[in-house]
């Protein structure tokens, strides 16, 4: 059962995830601290998937050669407008395929992803387990790991 009007969900999520410009949301009195949304959003890979409240264990170059971890410049950019306009509470990314090229064996697998912004103190926005994980040492030097156009979906339909 939902709670928030879906037209508002579409507007809010589109505002968050399609913007190419940094902007700040300032709550009213008693509403907590302002926070700044800093595009572009970046796709990060995780050997252990996170949870609703905690980040996972990010892949690192030592065990996933060809992958760069960390914030704000790790992972790969999802472009100036990460997601398309939300409709029925949902949208997809990336608009252009995102690819890593392995320069050695990935001795840790890839189980999940997270999407963070590019702030100096980056903010985590989305997380999720892959529909099919890649196991240990399956990816080797010369291989590529790609997320096809629209392969990642986000939904606030039941928000």
């Amino acid at each position: 059962m939902g709670m928030t009007d879906q037209a508002l969900v579409n507007k809010l999520l589109s505002a968050l995830y399609t913007s190419s410009a940094t902007f700040t949301i300032t709550p009213g009195t008693g509403g907590g601290s302002a926070f700044t949304v800093t595009p572009p959003f970046r796709l990060h890979l995780y050997s252990t998937t996170g949870t609703e409240t905690t980040t996972g264990t990010e892949n690192v170059s030592a065990t996933s050669p060809g992958y760069t971890n960390g914030f704000p410049s790790g992972g790969l950019s999802l472009g100036s407008s990460a997601f398309g306009t939300f409709s029925a509470g949902a949208s997809t990314t990336p608009g252009t395929a995102v690819t890593w090229t392995a320069s050695g064996t990935w001795t840790l697998g890839v189980a999940g992803i997270e999407i963070w912004d590019s702030a100096s103190t980056a903010i985590r926005y989305l997380w999720g387990p892959l529909s099919l994980a890649i196991g240990t040492s399956v990816v080797v030097s010369g291989d590529t790991v790609t997320f096809a156009i629209a392969s990642i979906s986000a939904s606030g339909a039941a928000w």
Partner: protein
């Protein structure tokens, strides 16, 4: 679902649950592509391993990788 293409011979495989290269990790609650040698490219007659690396370079492409939802309020 992962689309795997051999970068050497172009042989491709659609990999998901039920594929011989995939096992189910009950602890993680997730299907995992675990066996590179079970992919179709290893059976391609005209495909030879790269002379320097000794393996077939593969392109792994996630077709429908992740669905994230905010859940019901």
């Amino acid at each position: 679902m992962i689309h795997v293409i051999c970068q050497n011979c172009g042989t491709f495989d659609i990999v998901g649950p039920g594929h011989p290269a995939v096992e189910y990790d009950a602890e993680a609650g997730q299907h995992v592509l675990t066996d590179r040698t079970a992919l179709k490219h290893s059976h391609a007659e005209d495909c030879e391993p790269h002379p320097e690396t000794g393996h077939y370079p593969l392109a792994f492409t996630f077709l429908a990788a992740v669905s994230t939802g905010t859940g019901a309020a």
